[in-house]
Structures are given as C-alpha cells and as structure tokens.
C-alpha cells in the first residue's frame, strides 16, 4: 500500500507517502464521538440504539479497512509503531475504562451499555493507532534518509 517517494527538488526534504491510515482512523474516531454525543444527549433516559449502532458499525468497518491497509504497508518503522502503540493503548484503555466506569456507575445497562462498550473499544484502539502511525511514518527508514 506504500507509494514510492516522489522526486523532490534538490535540498528539499520529502517524506515517503503512506496509505491514509491516520486519516481513516480519525474518521472512525469521529463516528464514535458522534455516536457517543448522540447517546449522551438522551441521558438519563434510555437512548434509541439505531443510530449509535449504525455509527459504531461504520466506525468498525473503517477500523477493519485500516488494519488491512496497515498490514500491507511497507517501509514503516514498525519498532516505533509498536513501542508507541502499546503505551498509548495502555493509556487509552485506562481512559476508556474510566468512562465505562462512570456510565456503569450511572446505571447504564443492557443494549446501551453494549453499544457504549463497543464505541469505547473503537475509541481505545483508534487513538493509539493515530498516534503510533503518525510517529512511525516520520521514523521510517526512507523518510529518515531524506
């Protein structure tokens, strides 16, 4: 999925082009945030789940597409990707856990809790993905050599 670096004028540094993993992860994050806002806007009532489920599924599809694109990426600094990714994941799993705790504490149960949990999982995966990919793309061997 990686595209060869385009020719750059002498003295101008260019970066290797990668698939838009960070952009797609951000789009997936936007869907989750919109779904979260939609559900929160009904609190303390039980929200209708059609729209949030649709948004969560669309976000999940984008994440799956992203994972496939990422797996096909060549030239990425994978060591940095995993180094940053695991710490960021730990941090955002804790953050997502805090949010889940607050909702469970406020008696969110059943379907809404399942949808909310799915959204939090997507949130906790997408943000570390954006951070680690952004770091790794600028640490890539070809980008570094430029």
């Amino acid at each position: 999925m990686s595209v060869p670096r385009s020719a750059a004028p002498a003295g101008v540094t260019s970066q290797q082009r990668f698939a838009p993993v960070a952009g797609i992860a951000a789009a997936s994050l936007v869907l989750v945030v919109v779904g979260g806002i939609y559900m929160a806007s009904y609190a303390p009532r039980r929200p209708p789940l059609g729209v949030p489920v649709l948004l969560a599924v669309a976000s999940g599809v984008l994440l799956a597409v992203n994972v496939v694109m990422l797996a096909r990426t060549r030239g990425l600094a994978w060591d940095k990707f995993f180094l940053v990714g695991r710490w960021a994941l730990l941090s955002y799993v804790i953050a997502a856990g805090l949010i889940e705790f607050a909702f469970v504490r406020d008696h969110t149960r059943g379907g809404p809790l399942v949808v909310l949990t799915a959204m939090l999982v997507l949130f906790a995966v997408n943000v570390p993905l954006i951070i680690s990919f952004t770091v790794a793309r600028y640490q890539s061997a070809r980008g570094d050599a430029a």
Partner: protein, 213 residues
C-alpha cells in the same frame, strides 16, 4: 520511552548552531528529551484516583473541584498556548522552536489528557446530578451544544494535536533530527491549538450561560 541526549541536528539546526558559533554566541547543549515525564505519572495517578472516587461516591465538592479546576486550567492553557505561545513559537527559528518544544511538549503529554479527563468525567456526572441533562431542563440545549464543541475539540486534540506532539518529540530524539519534519509538525500543532483555543471561547460562553440559569 527513556532519556536520550540528542547530540546532533538537521541541516537547519546545524546551520543555526554554526551561525551562532561564528558570531561568538554560546550554543546551549541540546536538551535531554523524555517523551513521557515519568516523575509526573504518580501525580496523574493521584488526580485520576481522586476523580474516580468523586464519581464513585457522587462527592459533590470533589466533582465541583475536578470540573472547575480541570476546566479552568484546560481552557486557560488552551487559550494561552493557542493564541499567545503558538504565534510567538511560529516566528522563532527552528533551533529555538526545537529547544522550547523539547522542554514544553513532554509536560503537555501528561498535563492535557489529565485535565481533559478531570473536566469531562466530572462535568457529565455533575450535569446528571443537577438534572441539566433532562430534556425539560433549560440547560439541556446548551449542554448539547457543549457536547458538540467538546467532541470537535476531542477529535482535533486526539487525532491531530497529540500525535503531532509525540511525533515531534520522537523526531528530536533522533541523532540527526529533520528540521523540516519538526517545522511541519509544529505548524500543525500551532494551528490546531489555535482552533481549540477559539472553541474554548465558545465553551466559556456556554458554561457561564449554564451556570447562570
């Protein structure tokens, strides 16, 4: 994520240092860059523990403290960085920007997510407790607008600001940091900090409106 002394620099950074040396100026040593300041983690843990306890026990003062202190600092820092520090930083030379960022950004990696967590988690709990989220509440519409504003800020902060911040720190840890990459990422950081700063003005209007109804 350990300390690394960065001992060399990009062409632009070197050029800046050489120009300084030629002019007889003392070139300061490159700063030690720690991406996550480990000494700050216990403080973050205590704050988050306090937040969880406040929510868990529905502790009114704790919720108020987390929301007011966290929100005030978040808004203040966002406005100050976006509208005061950012434009100044944008006019500095790349070596000066790099040196400032090496000391400033690791602190932001810990400070901002902690403040955001304090503000949002306690704010939602307060809104529930005070009945402001009920559709019949006069504050309901204002809070929905604030959710949207916070949602936009969250996507900007999590999707652009924080990744750029951490990528700059990694770049500066390289034996030969790429000045162009640092400049590009810093520009992204500065512009988005400005946008979130302006959105904080909207938050101030909404929150003062909610508090006065």
């Amino acid at each position: 994520m350990t300390d690394t002394r960065v001992d060399s620099s990009s062409t632009e950074l070197e050029a800046g240092a050489e120009a300084g040396a030629e002019a007889g100026a003392v070139v300061p040593p490159r700063p030690v860059i720690q991406i996550v300041p480990l000494k700050g983690l216990p403080i973050v843990a205590v704050i988050l523990g306090f937040l969880v306890a406040s929510i868990g026990f529905n502790w009114q003062w704790g919720l108020d403290f987390n929301h007011v202190a966290g929100g005030g600092l978040w808004t203040g820092i966002d406005l100050f960085v976006g509208l005061v520090v950012g434009p100044i930083l944008g006019r500095l030379s790349i070596p000066a920007r790099a040196e400032f960022s090496a000391r400033f950004m690791p602190k932001m990696v810990l400070v901002m997510p902690t403040l955001v967590a304090m503000t949002l988690a306690s704010g939602f709990q307060l809104a529930l407790d005070l009945g402001n989220l009920k559709a019949s509440s006069p504050n309901h519409a204002w809070l929905m607008v604030s959710f949207v504003v916070v949602g936009i800020m969250a996507v900007i902060a999590l999707g652009i600001l924080e990744p750029a911040n951490i990528a700059v720190l990694f770049e500066m840890r390289k034996p030969r940091p790429n000045g162009e990459v640092i400049g590009k990422l810093m520009k992204r950081f500065i512009y988005t900090a400005g946008v979130t700063g302006l959105m904080q003005v909207a938050t101030l209007v909404i929150m003062t409106r909610v508090a006065s109804q």
